[in-house]
Symmetry: C2
């Protein structure tokens, strides 16, 4: 077996989360490298300790080393962290799969499904690599706040204790508290689903309603998240934790998320195509909503909030029609979808 003593972890992807994790771990004395695609970005990180495209407000740890040599770096790392957008995930996973060996751990931080297949990222990892010990990191974390040393929390979920404890060791000593859990499926669903609710929340805020309406919507959105999760084999309690409630509430409260902004601007009458062109990054909610809608009925689910967000995104429902539809649903029992209560 290869001796992997070159570093403690290789982070694959130099966006906000990848750069923040790399910098935090380097700060804690861990030997980490950050793979980025572009030579210019690698050079910027190595020479100026900045990543102006993604984290302009932050100075990264000078101990964090960036690289563009994926195949050369992978064999030296016992643990890989894939921090990529869902659209790039399979392609990079395939490149990782060409090199990775069965003893290596892969944890990803991606929030979204593969649209065409409705697959979760951990499923793609299993399809494209021989790695068995995979996991997912998720939670309500803002990259700049983690780097500023604010108390932060997230969950790493994996079927393997070793994945959890090895990841926890990478941030030990910092104020970034990484809890462990078993529910990979639920963690991945929660991270993707929250973006759909963020769109709805932006729209509701744009309509001039207050906290009463917003948190009704968020809570019912959480209920739909749980329904989808349970139908896909998740543990319902996962959605009450950091990756569910925590991330969902943080996203909907802050108003900074791209998906929230999308909903807000739709509520002001802007056209989807115009909004998408001017958003700072891709709105994951658009493909995620499509993917959930295509699979909900197969799973026997009615998800009213996802359904109106879909109608709103595709120009099939006005704001008023969305509201009227949600208000016309009989209330019944709050937890009816989760069995007799």
């Amino acid at each position: 077996m290869t001796v992997r003593d070159g570093m403690d972890a290789l982070i694959i992807g130099g966006g906000r989360m990848g750069s923040a994790l790399g910098s935090l771990m380097a700060q804690q004395g861990r030997r980490v490298e950050l793979w980025v695609r572009s030579e210019a970005r690698a050079q910027e990180i190595n020479e100026t300790h900045r990543n102006t495209a993604y984290l302009p407000e932050v100075t990264l740890s000078p101990k964090l080393r960036a690289t563009t040599a994926l195949a050369e770096s992978i064999p030296r790392a016992p643990l890989l962290i894939m921090a990529l957008p869902s659209t790039a995930f399979r392609e990079v996973a395939r490149a990782v799969g060409d090199v990775v060996e069965g003893d290596q751990i892969i944890v990803h931080t991606t929030k979204g499904f593969e649209v065409d297949t409705f697959k979760r990222m951990s499923q793609i990892l299993r399809e494209e690599t021989c790695a068995l010990k995979v996991g997912v990191l998720s939670g309500p974390t803002i990259a700049a706040e983690i780097l500023a040393g604010h108390p932060a929390g997230a969950l790493v979920a994996s079927g393997f204790d070793e994945v959890i404890t090895k990841f926890q060791a990478l941030v030990e000593g910092s104020f970034f508290r990484v809890y462990g859990g078993r529910d990979v499926t639920g963690t991945e669903i929660a991270g993707a689903f929250k973006n759909v609710v963020a769109v709805a929340t932006g729209a509701v805020d744009g309509m001039g309603f207050g906290g009463t309406t917003k948190w009704l919507l968020v809570t019912r959105g959480l209920n739909e998240m749980g329904q989808l999760g349970v139908a896909m084999g998740a543990d319902v309690l996962t959605f009450g934790g950091l990756v569910g409630v925590g991330d969902l509430a943080a996203t909907c409260a802050s108003g900074n998320s791209v998906n929230y902004q999308l909903g807000l601007r739709l509520s002001r009458g802007e056209k989807l195509a115009d909004i998408v062109e001017t958003l700072p990054s891709a709105a994951e909610a658009i493909p995620t909503t499509d993917a959930i809608m295509r699979n909900a009925s197969r799973l026997g689910l009615e998800l009213p909030i996802v359904s109106v967000v879909y109608g709103l995104l595709h120009g099939e429902l006005s704001l008023e029609a969305c509201l009227a539809r949600l208000m016309s649903i009989p209330v019944g029992s709050e937890l009816a979808a989760f069995g007799p209560n």
Copy 2:
């Protein structure tokens, strides 16, 4: 059996929630009366349709009639809604108990425990009245927003379907969506517990942390709420609904709650006694924290957030000591308290 055809519901307590519910129901054409203690307040409501002490920004429905005659009004109402502070609850429940008969329904909206006994309000209702069909209404509702017709949601929990359906009928036709549930215990615990987390959230915001820290705290607070609930016989899923997540997140996000303000001002170095004197209403978190702390160890629980809030309120822990204590707890498994995950 007495024929109760004088009205659809009697609301007992003319604070924010009682007045808002009364006005909303009257607006929907229900025959409701509002009991208030003071003649002057009854006169103000009946003559000017305002309740300046509690809802200064709102005009109430002119169809809402206020009364000060409790014993005379009770026999005419099939359903009583007790909307009172926890400190006044037993005394008024006893007065209700002198008159109420076994066929009448009582729903309360009080968020808090009886401090000395750690009893929930529904337990007090059973002790002080012959009413069997009791229930509790709770959720993330702001009185003025309900009255403005904003979509709003809450849960009425009762062991009796009749309580749920009769209450739902009182608001039917409005945008106030009242879901049904069975878990009276969990609903009551959630409403009381959230005030403790609101203090902690105010303190965290006062320390200058951002959303990452705030929602870590809120989510771990929810975890402690669930632990207390399960130990007291509640259904853990209740805490993922409107009375748990919904009310907790709404309270912590808005920053308007008295308990949040208390935490914020403690974090700025003000003394508890000075803060309490100038708060607009009683901070339920103070007695609630004491009551939970007195009972946690009996229930076999360690509740770190409640514990540091207690220390902060009683001047036993500085902010820095609170933070250091929370950060020194080993992270472990997120849902460890809820069995193997």
